[in-house]
Amino acid sequence: MSLAIANSIDDVLTALAGGARPIAGGTDLVVGARQGKSPLPESLIAIDRVPALSTIEQTDGHVRIGAGVTHSRLMSDPLLVERYTGLADAAALIGSPSTRNVGTIGGNVMNASPAMDTGAPLMTLGAIAELRSVSHTRQLALSDLWTGPGQTSANPDELCVCIVIPQTPAYSGSAYVRLEYRRAMEIAVVGAAASVVLTEDGTIASGRLAMTAVAPTIVELVGASEAMTGMAAVDAADVIASLASDQAVPISDLRGSDRYRRHTIGVMAARALDAAARRAGGERIGVPVNRNLGIGAAR
């Protein structure tokens, strides 16, 4: 096996064109190889020292988060905590402090696990992934990127260079909650993210929800905005919960049965909505919601 350390995005793209695979923190790749899931690729290009991949930039109408930004930064960056709070919630729940130090948003997104934590909030925030190869750059909605468990529509020579999120409007808020059996070192049993915009009278003007670990990929809750527009969040909780339970297609595994997941995804969706709406209304709920609003998950 060979490993080269890249200093620039061009270094990376050239290496990928030559058949190398990118490695950032290695938390998924190295652990996966050790567990025998998939051996390490023959050729690796380390992308953790490319400065351009580690920036968080505010541009006109967008924030661009470099693919190499670690979860530790996502959960503590003032801009993200203030305006993209659901993403910070998710980053703060991943693994342990050490995995958050080396794990990156690009790695999380491109690993395409249906149980990934950052996926659902990114989806509700309308994020898109920017993929680049030596020949082209393209932007892809996350729903088009994730095609199945561990599968993406990215080509092997494409690098996810950043995640682009549109600026959030006034009176908006977001949150991510998940069901977990321990308060740390967990993978979501189920999880839900919500982003909402409120009207001046506090009712919901629009909103989006997305769900973790109830389908082969992270999925958006269809019809959520229509179902809750014009309602107070507290009144929308039940309808959102049953919408989530109806649309979930969970599997049964060690972490929970399909029946239990179908129920709890509704609970998580309602709680995510509640926290997002409260944040939109100006309430400061610390990151992550899970640890700041009580047990197991938010309440």
Partner: protein, 155 residues
């Protein structure tokens, strides 16, 4: 195929000749010869292998050694104070009874060291989260928590 690179561990530069797919844990224990860093799961789930890379705690079992080139690696062997005196964390862990079998202890100290470096007066909750990636089966954590609190108070 082994390749050669340099690794800085506890302020000493070591020439390493090894396959590039070796984990930092394995290189530290066999090539560098420092066995204070332990392997408990090889899976990022126990924290016994915790080291600092550029002062940040990292599970060395799941980090490629070659990726640590040009970075500062600190292990439990590098944590003694100047004149080989116990670091306050080490002393307080012993004083408070936070050490039993000792297998998780090096990793626990590395996480605690990193926590206290970025937060000099952590709350109990911050200590609990900061050390949540380090499993201990012996102590119930209470005396480890007390030792970290005491270290913060003394500093």
């Amino acid at each position: 195929m082994s390749e050669t690179y340099e690794l800085e561990v506890n302020g000493v530069s070591y020439p390493i000749s090894a396959a590039m797919d070796r984990s930092l844990l394995s290189i530290l224990r066999t090539e560098v010869g420092l066995t204070g860093t332990k392997e408990g799961c090889d899976d990022c789930e126990c924290g016994a292998c915790m080291v600092l890379i550029d002062d940040q705690p990292v599970n060395s079992c799941s980090y490629l050694a070659a990726q640590a080139q040009g970075r500062r690696v600190t292990t439990i062997e590098g944590i003694l104070d100047g004149e080989n005196q116990l670091h306050p964390l080490q002393r307080n862990l012993l004083d408070e009874g936070g050490v039993q079998c000792g297998f998780c202890t090096p990793g626990m100290i590395m996480s605690a060291q990193a926590l206290l470096a970025r937060n000099t007066s952590p709350t109990q909750e911050e200590i609990r989260i900061g050390l949540s990636g380090n499993l201990c089966r012996c102590t119930g954590y209470q005396r480890i928590l007390a030792a970290v609190e005491k270290t913060a108070t003394e500093a």
